[in-house]
Assembly symmetry: C2
């Protein structure tokens, strides 16, 4: 009889003893208990320290904290931020046991304090310090649904890790220094009947009826004989006694009315405290991003989902809200609508140039670039042409005119489409010769057999579109991981004639290259802007931030469009899906993008002092970004790079010497970096 | 310039037009709306049909319904069941939009009716019809947490599918026939403040104080002058009026006390109704499983987690609960504790043989086999040997004695361990010569170099243990996918001397072979017993049903033991993790195992009429099970096999002819199978 064919190697390697059939070294005696408390029945969070009931630990903003994330030791949070910068960190919570009911492991109360400096300055909770719950989308932690501050409650589920996204926005004028505060997390009793509202309501109705009867009995006492009044009062007294002794009030009755309410002291004594320390330094991020990032917002999606008629008051108000909300992400939004083929109507301000709102939008210092609508793209009428001319006549004389661009066609594919761009551009340039036209593309015209291969055709596009395009915006997908091809693109451009190279990402490039798709690593999304900075393009475009599948219901399920990688074209979600709030809900990917935008301001600061070569060297030396397939997967490299820029900056010397030694000795500085590392910066 | 090295094939295949940069064919006009309702703001579930707010659809019990499961059309449920059988089905629910708040998409009310036959017989909700919520464990839908019936409420979350596990237990004496009923699912308002219990409590406290004051004012009215009484009453009247007009009662005030409570009619009109039809047929599953399946329950785990002292009243009560609970799964439990090496104390009844409980346990008709404790395994004292002798003297004369077995050692690995088994067996057989000893093994002794290879050594084990083992229980892992090796095992056994072949699964065999690990397909777990039946072993052993990692807290997080595949040794969970209930929570895998146990009773019925060869042919013909790597992944094959057994059974003729034609014509019978298929049986 032969050995078993299917398992030949296994037969020689029996299962681990003690595992194969059973005991796994657990049976007779296992000394270590994991808790000093033993809970028979339901654990009472009003008596047991919360640390016995739940794990709390901190993780970097770039971590994807899934429901299966395993606990780590709790360390305090230590962050570095410039003024006008947002820094975020995540607080993960996982129940050690269940103290709730109805499938909920338990409820936790979260309270945050202001962050205070020793000189009395504050980063105020609710304004500078905000909390959001990380909600999985297709199982991936992504949506950041706002939580109330300073106090909020969330439910935890058995065997699931929940993550809280804490952001600190440092105002422009914040005094530099070290700010400290904390977030307290306390297990609290879960309202057991929370799901059974009908009981609560019928109980309330019963109570109402009894009190009403009681009132009816004693109300008409005037001009009644004393005896009757006393009888009526006795009747009412008896009813009231019965009501007060009813189960409704039993818990209060027993505890003398307050013992069961968790008071401040209990909250403090039992809580898990997460200490937050943030060093605000002298550097102020420029209000206007030094590199424009223009992002599309589909007006069609807004109209459909929120049921808004084009041009109605509600429509203007919704667009205004989206515009202002996206500015905080260092993004220059444009609203858009696609036409036949890939013609596109793109505009940053929904009001015409002669409307007061126009200047308000275009002059906004947070806006780095704005799209001017090319009206004839919708209806090629004389009226549309007149409107375009009027628009241009007004705008071209404005101070903000250099921020203007036209985006007419998305990814032209053949000679006819190239010709259409040239024709529209001619119209524009007839009225405003210095107008800038942006064209996105990833290939040359498919029907022009002028070149040997597709990449040559792609590189040759500027020669086909000059002078009808100034901003040549190419897909990073074309480069793949070959950043050496950048010079082939830029070699064809004529910067002296105002020609610029911008880039974009959309469905490509795909993993492991930098992009903003759902499920990518945090550093992979953040790397989108590291890549832009290293490759040296001067602007960035993203096609759509709200391009979910069509629905006519504001709170309708979020679905990604078929044929696109999940998350492509969707960087925020409608708030209505998560709560009654109408404010958009950011994705973690949008926050990573913002971090990348902030990183390049750090890199620009460093390069302004030491030169671009030194900046590139720093990016490489710290391991943050070496190329499209070689960037850090770990947050530590980012912290090290930012700390190095902080340390190396002249402005360092202006910070209080108590905060950091002025010594330039390598030992001290590396010790500083280490201390930041150890502090989980 | 060359084509790009990294993306050569991609360059030739540009992204889908209309996708690459944007519009994905959605922009100018898209006629189809998905709903006839348009919800601005929050959708009101008291006014809108629930079908507009959520998807409801049915799936088979063998489906793993994850949170990302996509909706299908709703069809009614049609099941076939014998008496004394449990059939289950899943109802999946997914919100189309959000109508709740605080991160909850919305709350649904679930109500189920009795299932009634046309002759007035009933399958009663709560007894025969139960609902459980499918809770993910490590992200895999597995734990079945009980829900209240006939009415319950659950929360749905944005973008997540929730599954409800509905089981119908057909009692032994249930009249055959077709039973019909339904489960109604209704979106209801979510208590917005459910998470903010402190508000509710302080409001209640305020109310209590005011009513108490009111009572204090009017209570001492005896012997007071009329004027003072009237003043006091007026004061109380004013307080009561104020209370009744307070925001607490406002909703009742406005609606005259009831309008906002969802009444029966509204529940009915707006609900989604899932129709359930079950055909109960003449066949009654034998109360005693025809093949014993013995499953270990770790007493150590029970003692630790529930803080129970060995031998205390609570300890006996917990073991009793576990024993009775597992019987419903056609399982014959044994409690166990591992000793040095892999010696094991296994016993089915915690009370000694002279205790009345002993007969109650061992005579239970649901119990197919029981383990007798070999007391000396813990302390090899004279007292222990006396106890063993006494136990045997009593048991060996009982009617239930043929169900008895001893399980002494788990997977002996060397000659010393084989000798220990022989020695213990000798002790036992000295008092009871016809006692049966069960030994689990997957190899021969590693230090006996008698055979040419490991498989031969494994096959030779009976010759080493005879007559000291009667039940040779081998790991399915040894066979792998080679069921042709079965004959080599059985050839060595002497059935005439009472020798039997049983099998077991534990950490092996692994995917895609049948086992009970978390994450395996439903049919893969169900196939464990199909395999047993086809291979012809006469019993089955599973090492542990509650062997999670150690904790001293009843509601402590469930963790699987390190080194084991998730779910191995864990077939149910402590109820305390999911609610305040102490009843164990079954895994879906345990339900699949039960289904497999039921399937083999069907196969036995078929074989008893047509012979085992025909039974094997049916198993193969319907595609249910052809071998360890060739079994159905689809539920349809199972339904077809069961329907075929139902059709072919003589007892068919005893069922009301209105239910099913008696014709044996192949056309009609296949039409019946088809109708069952179409009905989603």
């Amino acid at each position: 009889m032969d050995a078993i064919g299917e398992n030949p190697q296994n037969m020689g390697v029996p299962p681990v003893e003690g595992v194969g059939g059973g005991g796994t070294a657990y049976g007779w005696a296992d000394g270590s208990l994991e808790s000093s408390y033993s809970f028979r029945g339901v654990a009472d969070p009003t008596k047991v320290p919360s640390a016995e009931l739940l794990h709390v630990w901190c993780m970097h903003s770039t971590a994807n904290i899934g429901q299966q994330e395993m606990p780590r030791p709790l360390e305090s949070i230590s962050l570095l931020a410039a003024r006008n910068e947002r820094e975020s960190v995540q607080i993960a919570i996982r129940p050690k046991l269940s103290w709730g009911s109805s499938g909920i492991a338990g409820t936790v109360h979260i309270r945050c304090s202001d962050l205070c400096s020793s000189s009395g300055d504050r980063l105020v909770v609710g304004q500078s310090l905000t909390l959001r719950r990380v909600v999985p989308i297709l199982g991936v932690p992504d949506a950041l649904a706002p939580l109330d501050v300073p106090d909020t409650q969330i439910n935890l589920f058995p065997g699931e890790t929940t993550s809280i996204w804490a952001s600190i926005d440092v105002p422009n004028g914040q005094p530099p220094g070290q700010y400290e505060g904390h977030i307290s997390i306390t297990a609290v009793k879960t309202e057991t009947d929370s799901l059974l509202q009908s009981f609560g309501k019928s109980e309330k109705f019963q109570l109402y009826k009894e009190l009403k009867n009681c009132l009816d009995v004693i109300q008409p006492v005037d001009e009644k004989p004393l005896e009757e009044v006393i009888n009526r009062v006795k009747c009412a007294t008896s009813t009231l006694k019965k009501v007060l002794a009813s189960p409704t009030f039993q818990e209060l009755y027993q505890d003398n009315g307050s013992a069961d309410m968790m008071d401040e002291d209990a909250l403090t004594n039992l809580s898990v405290h997460v200490k937050i320390s943030i060093t605000v330094w002298e550097f102020t991020l420029p209000l206007t991003p030094s590199l424009p990032a223009v992002f599309g917002i589909s007006e069609t999606v807004i109209e459909d989902r929120f049921g808004l008629e084009h041009g109605s008051d509600g429509w203007y108000s919704a667009l205004d809200q989206h515009f202002n909300w996206l500015l905080q992400y260092r993004i220059s939004p444009f609203f858009c609508r696609w036409g036949d083929g890939m013609r596109i109507l793109a505009y940053t301000c929904p009001w015409p140039a002669d409307h007061p709102k126009s200047d308000e939008y275009y002059s906004n210092p947070r806006l780095a670039a704005y799209a001017v609508p090319y009206a004839p793209i919708l209806y090629c009428s004389d009226a549309a042409k007149v409107a375009l001319r009027k628009e241009l006549e007004i705008l071209k004389s404005k101070v903000h005119w250099p921020k203007a661009y036209f985006y007419l066609w998305d990814e032209p594919l053949n000679l006819e489409q190239f010709e259409l761009i040239r024709s529209m551009s001619s119209d524009i340039r007839a009225y405003a010769p210095d107008a800038r036209v942006l064209t996105t593309y990833y290939c040359g015209p498919s029907d022009a057999h002028l070149t040997a291969n597709t990449f040559e055709a792609f590189v040759n596009v500027p020669n086909l579109l000059r002078p009808h395009t100034q901003i040549f915006c190419t897909s990073e997908w074309v480069l793949g991981s070959r950043e050496d091809l950048v010079k082939d693109i830029t070699a064809e451009l004529q910067p002296g004639k105002g020609e610029e190279w911008w880039t974009y990402v959309c469905l490509g490039p795909s993993d492991p290259l930098p992009n903003l798709h759902l499920g990518m690593r945090g550093t992979q999304s953040r790397a989108v802007m590291w890549r832009v900075w290293k490759e040296g393009s001067t602007g960035f475009l993203y096609w759509g931030a709200n391009c979910y599948e069509k629905t006519m219901i504001a709170s309708g399920e979020i679905r990604f469009r078929r044929g696109l990688p999940p998350g492509d074209g969707v960087l925020f979600y409608p708030g209505e899906v998560f709560s009654s709030s109408h404010e958009p809900v950011a994705s973690a990917r949008l926050e990573h993008f913002l971090s990348g935008m902030q990183d390049i301001e750090y890199l620009n600061l460093y390069s302004s002092k030491f030169g671009r070569e030194e900046g590139l060297s720093l990016l490489q030396r710290t391991g943050v970004y070496l190329g499209p397939e070689r960037y850090t997967l770990d947050h530590m490299a980012i912290a090290a790079m930012r700390a190095e820029i902080y340390r190396a900056s002249d402005s360092l010397s202006e910070i209080s010497s108590s905060l950091i030694s002025r010594s330039q000795s390598p030992n001290l500085s590396s010790r500083f970096v280490n201390s930041i590392r150890e502090g989980k910066l």
